[in-house]
């Protein structure tokens, strides 16, 4: 059975439907997130299960993995990120076009996890901003799906002007990420 998402709130009459741009665009973005998997270890294996037939992330409109950062909306960081990999991750984030979201999957990506040592980045939020953290070591596929659904909620309710706001630019600048003035 094909399930179609509910229409956003609006005014409906004979032959017309009126709603706000924010809601329509949010609806479209939320239901066709293109994830970029940045999978380094066991969380990556759980992520593969999430994409597979049993858990099937495609049900939520995310079946299209994008292995090019330029064509993806959602960066899924699953696994241990060493300090040496930090700049690479940042570069991948830089290459993604706005709007973009980041899902940190598992203890290692979120906080360094058990790898409390000189070589491991103690959470990817030292390098890039994160929207949703999924706890677990590794998290079950259900948890990863829950994380993606939370990202969908963010995408759905985001104001169209959020990414132009001074707060957002300031946040990016605090990570030393260049912003472009339009």
């Amino acid at each position: 059975m094909v399930k179609i998402v509910d229409a956003p709130e609006g005014y409906q009459g004979q032959g017309f439907f009126a709603t706000s741009f924010d809601k329509v665009i949010g609806l479209a973005r939320a239901n066709s997130l293109w994830p970029l998997p940045f999978a380094t270890s066991c969380c990556g294996i759980e992520f593969m299960a999430t994409m597979g037939a049993t858990y099937d992330l495609a049900r939520f409109g995310s079946e299209r993995m994008s292995f090019s950062p330029r064509q993806s909306d959602l960066l899924i960081v699953a696994g241990t990120i060493s300090k040496k990999l930090g700049p690479v991750l940042k570069q991948v984030y830089d290459q993604m076009a706005e709007p973009k979201w980041v899902l940190s999957v598992g203890a290692c990506a979120s906080s360094g996890g058990i790898f409390d040592t000189y070589s491991v980045l103690q959470g990817i939020d030292h390098v890039i901003p994160v929207d949703v953290y999924v706890p677990g070591c590794p998290p079950r596929p259900e948890q990863i799906i829950e994380g993606v659904l939370k990202i969908q909620e963010l995408a759905k309710n985001e104001s169209l002007r959020r990414r132009d706001s001074p707060e957002y630019k300031k946040m990016l600048e605090s990570y030393n990420i260049e912003t472009i003035d339009k």
Binding site: K83, K84, S111, G112, D116, T117, Y118, S119, V120, Q122
Partner: protein
């Protein structure tokens, strides 16, 4: 009966007086050599057929005064299937040994790794810089004076761990 490790060492011990050969509990031959003679010993052993450098690493014994650091070489004689471990003790004030990259090309990365983790200098190494850690790291993490835990971690307070 093919030649033993003792016989090989016997042959070169006339030229290199610092060699002290012993056998450990696992039957592995172990030789301590001074840093001035190590290059010559490895060169002669290579000529004698120890044609493979299995491993090259370092270690740190902060309690051994005057001999805090050690560089360890493992050599393998393929033809007679013999192995020997060579050790050089170094004082923390003079951490320099000759590089063996011109004898064994495989020593290149292993010496870089030993430099990276222990700060041991290999003279005449073609490219002695960090290999595994980030380039801007300003210490040598396998030295005992550095804590294993990452210092940038914010959620780890001593009181949670009974310290």
């Amino acid at each position: 009966m093919s030649k033993t490790v003792e016989a090989y060492i016997e042959e070169i011990s006339k030229d290199f007086l610092s060699i002290e050969l012993s056998v450990d509990n696992y039957g592995m031959h172990n030789a301590f050599i001074t840093k001035d003679e190590i290059y010559g010993v490895i060169e002669k052993l290579k000529e004698a057929g120890f044609n493979f450098l299995t491993d090259l690493t370092g270690s740190h014994y902060p309690e051994n005064e005057g001999q805090e650091f050690q560089v360890v070489y493992h050599l393998h004689h393929f033809y007679n299937n013999l192995r020997i471990r060579l050790k050089v003790n170094l004082s923390k004030d003079d951490l320099e040994v000759p590089s063996v990259t011109d004898l064994y090309a495989g020593a290149n990365w292993m010496e870089r790794e030993t430099f990276d983790f222990y700060g041991i200098q290999f003279s005449n190494h073609p490219n002695l810089n960090r290999i595994l850690n980030v380039d801007d790291m300003d210490y040598h993490p396998m030295r005992k004076e550095f804590a294993l835990e990452d210092e940038t971690r914010e959620d780890k307070e001593d009181k949670y761990f009974g310290r």
